[in-house]
């Protein structure tokens, strides 16, 4: 086969996979729309989830502003600080729940084996779910951002929005790596949700969401260096709120890029190994 032919074949395959990923995304939207109360709930819930963190801050400070927070981050507004952190951590759901859950969900629908005999690799379904969940979470976040920023009169620096989005993009790709690991583990583990729960709890603890890295103990701080969310939130908060950078910008980009390559590669390896294990044992169809 000539180089041109094989390149054409590659492009054709790639387009096929992209189309399948998008079909998965559209299918998920359509199914979600049929559960209307649940669909609406998903847009209200983030607000209900976020407010306790503000109220906790209010109770501790007796108001909205913290001198101590300003001394360690350069920002005194507790609400703005916490809000940006929790806003972007919403993507954690994409990795730990939506992607991890994708294959189990098909199993509950009874469609898993039907889609598994289609001529696309199995990670395509997980990628489709990642695309869907990213769009869904993105939409929720946008609404949340506009509503909260308006309600609390938070001024975001729009000049840095594009670099902030670039950082979010890199963070997302890194998170997809984690998501595909979870998806792989769901094939082999009956209690896959414990993995999701443990992973998301761990990430929430060590990611500087509502506090800067400085308050974390040494071990947790080191652990947070391996997670894309750490750099994502530090970078985004710097560009949107002007938080003093705990890590230099080029280092953020460099490490995020490195992390996404490592996590994605590792994730794909885990997924492929688990998929093979599942097909050898027939484990997915047992439950």
């Amino acid at each position: 086969m000539s180089f041109n032919q094989s390149r054409q074949g590659l492009i054709h395959t790639l387009l096929h996979y992209l189309r399948a990923i998008n079909a998965e995304n559209i299918k998920e939207w359509k199914i979600e729309f049929t559960y209307k109360p649940d669909f609406v709930r998903q847009f209200i819930e983030p607000f209900v989830y976020l407010f306790p963190y503000f109220l906790y801050g209010f109770a501790l400070l007796g108001g909205r502003y913290s001198e101590h927070l300003r001394s360690i981050t350069g920002i005194s507004d507790m609400v703005a600080y916490t809000f940006i952190g929790y806003l972007f951590i919403g993507f954690l759901n994409t990795a730990c729940w939506a992607m991890g859950f994708s294959l189990r969900k098909e199993q509950w629908f009874g469609t898993l084996e039907t889609i598994f005999v289609a001529p696309v690799p199995r990670w395509v379904y997980v990628a489709g779910m990642a695309l869907h969940s990213t769009c869904h979470q993105g939409l929720i976040m946008l609404i949340q951002a506009v509503a909260i920023a308006t309600f609390f009169a938070i001024v975001l620096h729009m000049s840095g929005i594009f670099i902030a989005l670039l950082i979010v993009l890199l963070m997302l790709l890194g998170l997809y790596g984690l998501g595909i690991i979870v998806a792989g583990l769901t094939i082999a583990l009956k209690q896959w949700w414990v993995v999701s729960e443990a992973l998301s709890t761990l990430i929430v603890v060590v990611t500087p969401i509502a506090y800067p890295l400085a308050v974390l103990p040494f071990v947790l701080r080191k652990l947070s260096m391996f997670l894309p969310t750490t750099y994502g939130i530090i970078g985004v908060r710097h560009f949107l709120l002007g938080e003093e950078l705990a890590i230099a910008l080029p280092t953020i980009f460099l490490r995020l890029s490195l992390i996404l390559v490592v996590w994605l590669t590792f994730g794909m390896i885990v997924f492929l190994v688990m998929d093979r294990y599942g097909r050898k044992r027939g484990s997915l169809s047992i439950y």
Partner: protein, 267 residues
């Protein structure tokens, strides 16, 4: 009666097959307190706050939040367990079998609730022991009886809520999300993480949530914060008297409705 005992036995056997789940339930409340500890440190610069003390009766926010976490997990696991019980059975494929058996579903639910109470209580004991040895929480012998009394008053009310949660899962197919929402609403409007006095809206709504009174009483006992013993116990008892019959009525109504409409296995 043996139906209830059998249900408890079965559930414990199933759980013991999943050790990871046991570990998760023991440690999860302690884990989700950690971000709140760091958030407090970042905002105040210390582990105590006089502003917090003005509202909560104690400056030390860590034990305050810790107790909130432990007791609320107690509540959530009950609601999840009973709410999800029939959902689980549909996944195991045994739901129709159970509901068509001569045993009344309410007994099965009580069995599941009882199992959950035993389990959660043992988790709470482990968690409190961790708090005693690691965080220096003081529990004197004289406090144990009232602590268990308030826990019991809370549990009984939970059965009522659990019945309604189970009814909801029979009625709404995607009840999982609604139960989540219920959890978040409780986080917002009851003094789990912060004193509800911080905001007039949360203060007003918290009056209607039984967890509020249990938390006030248990924190009062464990952290030596002044509280009205009689008032809190009477209110909790009164709520129990309403919730149990209400829960049973709602469950029976929904179960009957589901059976006549035949939507049971429609997942």
């Amino acid at each position: 009666m043996w139906v209830i005992v059998e249900e408890v036995r079965k559930s414990i056997r199933i759980l013991l097959a999943y050790p990871a789940e046991v570990i998760f339930w023991v440690f999860s409340p302690l884990l989700w307190v950690i971000p709140l500890v760091f958030q407090g440190k970042a905002l105040v610069g210390a582990f105590s706050s006089t502003q917090f003390g003005n509202l909560a009766g104690t400056d030390d926010f860590i034990p305050y939040v810790l107790i909130g976490a432990i007791i609320s997990t107690y509540m959530f696991s009950a609601v999840w367990s009973m709410g999800n019980s029939f959902r689980d059975e549909t996944y195991y494929g045994t739901l129709e079998h159970i509901l068509s058996s001569p045993a009344r579903p309410a007994y099965i639910l009580i069995g599941k609730g009882l199992y959950n109470s035993i389990l959660s209580t043992s988790f709470v004991i482990v968690q409190l022991l961790i708090c005693v040895f690691i965080f220096g929480l003081e529990i004197t012998l004289i406090k144990i009886l009232p602590i268990f009394m308030f826990l019991l008053l809370l549990i009984v009310g939970l059965y009522g809520i659990g019945f309604m949660a189970a009814a909801l899962t029979l009625l709404v197919k995607e009840a999982h999300g609604l139960l989540h929402m219920f959890e978040y609403i409780l986080f917002l409007f009851s003094p789990i993480r912060y004193p509800v006095e911080v905001n007039p809206i949360t203060k007003t709504i918290s009056v209607f949530i039984p967890l509020t009174y249990a938390l006030i009483a248990l924190r009062g006992l464990l952290l030596n914060i002044e509280f009205n013993f009689l008032k809190n116990s009477v209110i909790l008892f009164g709520i129990d008297c309403v919730l149990i019959p209400l829960g049973l009525i709602v469950f029976h109504y929904v179960e009957k409705r589901t059976k006549t409409r035949g939507t049971l296995s429609d997942y």
